[in-house]
């Protein structure tokens, strides 16, 4: 059930507005869509693994234009207990982090919050599209109002989406594979934590003096 909350929040943050309302009656109340299962799963991976997220932020900091905001975000994660408290390990499945989203989606579907649509012929599914319905968005608002304990999912989802902004799903997957521990994880095992490495990396950056004015 936790998963359903997380997926709902994530879909809310990641959903792209619809150019035109779908013709299908079931989607008549759709307010946005998240395209492809891989994209959803990868975004979910970063939400569930703050250590990988922080590491990715450091990568962007070092490889990009050294935006201090990226570093600050990484520091907030690594200096907190988030990597310990907010880690929901995934199994490695075939080519990447994967966990059946079906259970969570079923919960969301029965309440008419989210509708999944498959493209392609049966047996040859080419793409999953996840439509957020009006009720779903309303539920997100209601949750935010009623249960501040769940604010974290909302905020983290927004951060993850921002990080992935402009990056296609396959590129997101490639990023994950850059992490050595992830690559080396045998199929069917839990993806290990890289918290210590990320923290050491941050510490090194701090010692370099590169980021002393940050945070």
């Amino acid at each position: 059930m936790q998963d359903a909350i997380r997926i709902l929040m994530l879909l809310d943050a990641a959903a792209e507005p619809l150019a035109e309302a779908p013709t299908e009656p079931a989607l008549s109340t759709a307010v946005g869509v998240v395209r492809t299962q891989i994209r959803l799963q990868k975004l979910d991976f970063w939400v569930r693994n703050p250590d990988y997220l922080a590491n990715e932020l450091l990568n962007d900091f070092e490889n990009g234009d050294r935006d201090p905001t990226l570093l600050m975000l990484a520091e907030q994660i690594l200096d907190s207990e988030e990597p310990e408290l907010r880690r929901y390990p995934m199994l490695r499945y075939l080519f990447g982090a994967y966990e059946q989203l079906d259970d969570a989606l079923a919960i969301l579907r029965q309440a008419d919050l989210v509708v999944r649509r498959l493209r392609g012929a049966p047996g040859h599914i080419t793409q999953h599209d996840y439509y957020l319905l009006e009720q779903g968005r309303a539920k997100v608002s209601e949750t935010a109002q009623k249960y501040p304990a769940l604010d974290w999912y909302s905020a983290r989802s927004k951060l993850v989406v921002a990080l992935a902004d402009g990056i296609g799903a396959t590129q997101l997957k490639d990023r994950q594979y850059l992490q050595e521990e992830y690559l080396n994880t045998p199929h069917g095992f839990r993806i290990p934590s890289i918290t210590d490495r990320a923290r050491n990396r941050l510490s090194d950056l701090r010692l370099d003096g590169t980021i002393k004015d940050v945070g």
Partner: protein, 623 residues
């Protein structure tokens, strides 16, 4: 072979000398009379006194035969080139055998060859040694002072000096006897010829004393000078030592605030042990903390999961199902009615359990209640709180351990630095250097001999010698004084008989002076006239011979050579008187032989036996 003169050519001359006076007379000078004396002197003394250099090359063969203590002796001087001579000395046998030996060039009868072909220098040495030995005389060693100095050196006088009492000085010389104008020497010669007991020993001892005293004075002076240098050096060193000591004291004072290396090292070791223990403790506590934190985090995760799951359940289960999650088929109102009426699930039509866990009504309230319950549930909160408390405690303990560890580490760092400083600091190095310098100076000071007063030190040797000299002097003075008294009387008597008018008395002293009193006026020998000096000298020798003869201990050979005694302020009459008196003495002193030269034939006439006059009249030569 005479050369470079008006009458050149080979020559040969024989002179024989009986007892008493033999006179060599030439009316002109430079006719060979002095040369005869010089050749006799050469043979007997070992070296001529004033042999003319233009005459010496003329000589080829000079033979002098003489008796020494009744033993016939001969000296033959041969020259091939006229410049250098080789000497042969023969002794023993008879006079005839010696002559024969000389002619034949080999020893005949009792003759013995004493030396052959000696060069002039070796002959001089040989003859000197031979004569001293035969007459039982010792070399006279005198202490001769350097001019204008307290220093001096021993000077050894051998036979040629004694010969000064045979071949008398020229009338013009103011020396009493001998060729060397030296105080004391004539008196020595006289006394030795008289064989004053222990005189030789006294002379030698005195010289030895002089030598040793001088050496000691010099040594003492050097020692004094050295001591002064050492004293100055010592003072210098001691002042350096004081400076270094002061420096060392100040270093120690400076360092006294610090502690000894050993003390620091001890503390360092203790601190190291403490550090090891503290580090182990801190490690252990950190491990405990890590475990406590992991436990708390796990519990926190678990409680979050529970909370979120319950919220999710409220959020989603409380809803009325709109579509089947499986087939997405619409849940129509009929199904909703069945669920409410027949208690069958609107989705799957299974019978719904009638329990409070499945609230169908007032779901919203129920959710809030459940969330509150999950939020503040006793059990969960208690567990998490307990874990948090444990973690905080572990954290405090670990912090405390860390703090202790840090403290010990700081102490360790401080002690290590202090230790390094103490063992390598400039102060320590400086102290070591200063100590080394001090040790060197102390070594230098200890190597300086303790300053003993070495000034005017007199050795035992000197004292003994002084005492010995005094004893000898006492002995010889007495003997000499007795002898001198006799000599004085004899000389005065003889002087008067030799024609010195108004001669009251003479007085020899041991330092060699001769005080002459004429007409009641005393004067020194040197102030008397030349003629008087000649006569006084002869008188002195004759007196010596007389006393020697009386005492039986005279060693004077009884030969007197007088070269032209009348040439210097001695009137012919006075010369004749002298010669006559001398010739008369041969009765009393049978061994006395006097050879004189004169340019005044009148002086010898009636004074000297006819057969002992070699006369060259006019411009004639003796040879």
């Amino acid at each position: 072979m005479k050369e470079n003169i008006s009458s050149p050519g080979p020559f040969e001359a024989d002179f024989s000398f009986g007892s008493g006076v033999t006179a060599l007379v030439t009316e002109s000078n430079l006719k060979g009379k002095s040369t005869v004396l010089e050749l006799i002197t050469w043979a007997l003394r070992g070296s001529p006194r004033r042999l003319r250099t233009d005459v010496k090359p003329w000589l080829r063969n000079v033979t002098v035969e003489y008796d020494l203590n009744s033993v016939p002796m001969a000296v033959k001087l041969e020259s091939k080139d006229g410049r250098t001579f080789a000497a042969t000395v023969i002794s023993g046998g008879s006079n005839e055998e010696i002559e024969e030996s000389l002619v034949q060039g080999q020893m005949i009868g009792g003759c013995r060859l004493l030396a052959r072909d000696l060069n002039e220098v070796d002959f001089a040495e040989f003859q000197s040694a031979l004569m001293l030995d035969r007459f039982g005389l010792q070399p006279i060693t005198n202490w001769q002072k350097f001019p204008k100095s307290s220093e001096g050196r021993p000077q050894v006088h051998k036979w040629p000096t004694y010969f000064g009492a045979i071949y008398l000085p020229d009338a013009g010389s103011d020396v009493l006897l001998g060729d060397i104008a030296m105080a004391g020497l004539p008196a020595r010669i006289l006394q030795l010829f008289c064989d004053v007991p222990l005189l030789s020993d006294e002379i030698r001892t005195k010289v030895l004393l002089n030598q040793i005293s001088q050496d000691e004075r010099n040594t003492s002076r050097r020692e004094t000078e050295d001591a002064e240098v050492l004293v100055s050096r010592l003072a210098d060193l001691q002042s350096q030592k004081a400076a270094y000591q002061a420096s060392l004291d100040s270093i120690d004072k400076e360092a006294s605030s610090g502690r000894s290396i050993a003390a620091i090292e001890g503390e360092l070791r203790t601190a190291e042990r403490r550090y090891v223990a503290a580090a182990a403790g801190a490690r252990e506590l950190n491990q405990i903390l890590a475990e406590a934190r992991a436990d708390r985090q796990a519990e926190q995760r678990r409680s979050t999961d529970i909370l979120e799951s319950e919220i999710a359940a409220l959020l989603f289960q409380g809803l009325s199902p709109k579509h089947c999650p499986r087939c997405e088929g619409s849940i129509d109102s009929r199904r909703i009615a069945i669920e409410q009426d027949e208690h069958k699930c609107a989705v799957c039509t299974s019978a719904l359990p009638l329990s409070e866990d499945h609230p169908a009504i007032d779901a919203e309230d129920e959710v809030e209640a459940t969330v509150e319950d999950a939020d503040g549930g006793d059990e969960a909160v208690t567990a998490l709180d307990a874990l948090l408390t444990a973690e905080v405690a572990a954290e405090a303990a670990a912090a405390e351990a860390s703090s202790v560890l840090q403290e010990v580490e700081d102490l360790l760092t401080r002690l290590t630095a202090e230790f390094a400083h103490a063992s390598q600091s400039r102060t320590t190095a400086k102290r070591r250097d200063t100590e080394l310098a001090l040790a060197r100076i102390e070594g230098a000071i200890s190597s300086i001999p303790s300053g003993k007063d070495s000034s005017t030190r007199t050795s035992d040797t000197t004292s003994v010698l002084k005492a010995t000299v005094k004893v000898l002097e006492d002995g010889t003075r007495e003997a000499a004084n007795a002898m001198f008294v006799e000599l004085n009387e004899e000389v005065a008597k003889l002087g008067r008989s030799f024609g010195i008018k108004n001669l009251d008395s003479v007085e020899l002293n041991r330092s060699g002076g001769l005080k002459v009193t004429t007409a009641g006026v005393p004067d020194t020998f040197g102030n008397t006239s030349g003629g008087e000096r000649v006569r006084l000298r002869v008188a002195l020798l004759v007196a010596l011979l007389r006393i020697g003869a009386i005492r039986g201990n005279g060693t004077h050979p009884g030969l007197i050579l007088l070269d032209s005694p009348g040439s210097h302020e001695l009137k012919t009459e006075d010369e004749r008187t002298l010669l006559r008196e001398l010739n008369r003495l041969q009765r009393e002193l049978p061994g006395l032989q006097v050879i004189i030269t004169t340019a005044k034939p009148d002086a010898v006439r009636d004074a000297v036996a006819e057969d002992q006059i070699y006369l060259a009249t006019g411009d004639g030569t003796l040879w």
